[in-house]
C-alpha cells in the first residue's frame, strides 16, 4: 500500500500537477505535525477561495482593470507556488501575461482553465491525503513492531 501511495504521488508529479515545493512541505512533516502538508493545502484552498471570488468579480467589470487583476493574480500565484501547485501556477503566469498586454478574452479564457486546474488538483490531493491517512496508522504499527 505504501507503494501505491508512492505511485499516486509520482503520477501527480509526472503529470505536472505538483512540483518540488510539495516535497519541501513533506519534509517539514514530523511526528509533532504528521498532517502538516494536508493542513497547509487545506488552508490554501480555504484562503484562495476568496481570491478566486475577487478575480471573478473583477472579470465581470467592463472595461477590465488589468492592473487590479494582475495584482490579485500575483497574490494567488504566490500562494499557489508555496504549495507546489505547478499547473495552477502556470495558468497564473499566463493570466498575468494577458493582463500585461491588455487581452480581455485571454484573461477570461485562462481564468476558466485555471479554475479547472485548481479544482482538479484539489480532488487529486484529497484522494492522496485520504489514502495516506488510511495507511498511516498501519505504517506506524509496522514500525513499532
Amino acid at each position: 500500500m505504501q507503494r501505491q501511495l508512492a505511485n499516486m504521488k509520482q503520477s501527480l508529479f509526472d503529470q505536472g500537477y505538483l512540483d518540488e515545493q510539495f516535497i519541501q512541505l513533506e519534509e517539514l512533516q514530523d511526528d509533532a505535525n504528521p498532517n502538516f502538508v494536508e493542513e497547509v493545502v487545506t488552508l490554501y484552498y480555504r484562503d484562495s477561495a476568496r481570491l478566486i471570488q475577487s478575480i471573478e468579480q473583477a472579470l465581470e467589470k467592463s472595461p477590465l482593470d488589468f492592473s487590479k487583476l494582475e495584482c490579485l493574480m500575483h497574490q494567488f500565484k504566490g500562494s499557489s507556488s508555496s504549495i507546489g501547485a505547478k499547473r495552477v501556477k502556470s495558468e497564473c503566469t499566463q493570466f498575468k501575461e494577458y493582463c500585461r498586454v491588455g487581452n480581455s478574452d485571454g484573461c477570461k479564457r485562462t481564468f476558466q482553465q485555471l479554475k479547472k486546474e485548481y479544482a482538479t488538483l484539489k480532488k487529486k490531493v484529497e484522494v492522496y491525503f485520504q489514502f495516506a491517512r488510511q495507511i498511516g496508522p498501519v505504517e506506524k504499527a509496522c514500525r513499532s513492531k
Binding site: Q75, K77, G78, S79, S82
Partner: protein, 128 residues
C-alpha cells in the same frame, strides 16, 4: 542553530497566510525561534515594541506597508539585522528598488530549505 546558547530568531513578514505558515515551519525546522507579521507595519511595530531578530524574511508586496517601505523604515531606525527580501517578481525595477531599500539579499519565492541554509551561512559569516 544556536548563537552562544540562545536560539537564532527570525521574523517572517508576508500578507499571505499560507506562505506565513510554510515559512514559519521551515524556519522552526532549522531550530529557529520565529515570529510572524502580516505586513510591513506589523513588522515595524514589533521592532518599535522592543523585539529584536537575527534576521527578517520580508515579502515585497503587502498591503498597509510593503516590503521596500518597511525595510527603509527599519534601516532608518538603525535596525541592522539581516533583512532578506522574497518576491516572485523576478529581476526588474521593483526588485532593484527593494534591494536599494536596504536588503542584505533577495530571493525568489517560494522559500525552501536550500535558501534557508544559504541565509544561515551568510548570517554565520556576518556574526563571526
Amino acid at each position: 542553530m544556536k548563537k552562544g546558547g540562545r536560539k537564532i530568531s527570525a521574523l517572517v513578514v508576508d500578507d499571505d497566510r499560507v506562505i506565513r505558515v510554510v515559512e514559519e515551519k521551515l524556519l522552526v525546522r532549522f531550530g529557529l525561534e520565529t515570529k510572524v507579521a502580516k505586513n510591513g507595519k506589523e513588522a515595524l511595530d514589533l521592532f518599535v515594541a522592543g523585539n529584536t531578530f537575527d534576521f527578517v524574511v520580508m515579502d515585497m508586496e503587502m498591503p498597509v506597508m510593503d516590503g521596500p517601505e518597511a525595510t527603509r523604515a527599519l534601516r532608518a531606525r538603525g535596525v541592522d539585522c539581516m533583512i532578506v527580501g522574497v518576491t516572485s517578481r523576478g529581476d526588474g525595477p521593483e526588485k532593484a528598488e527593494f534591494e536599494a531599500a536596504g536588503l542584505n539579499c533577495c530571493w525568489e519565492k517560494p522559500l525552501n530549505a536550500q535558501i534557508v541554509g544559504t541565509i544561515l551561512d551568510k548570517l554565520a559569516k556576518k556574526l563571526s
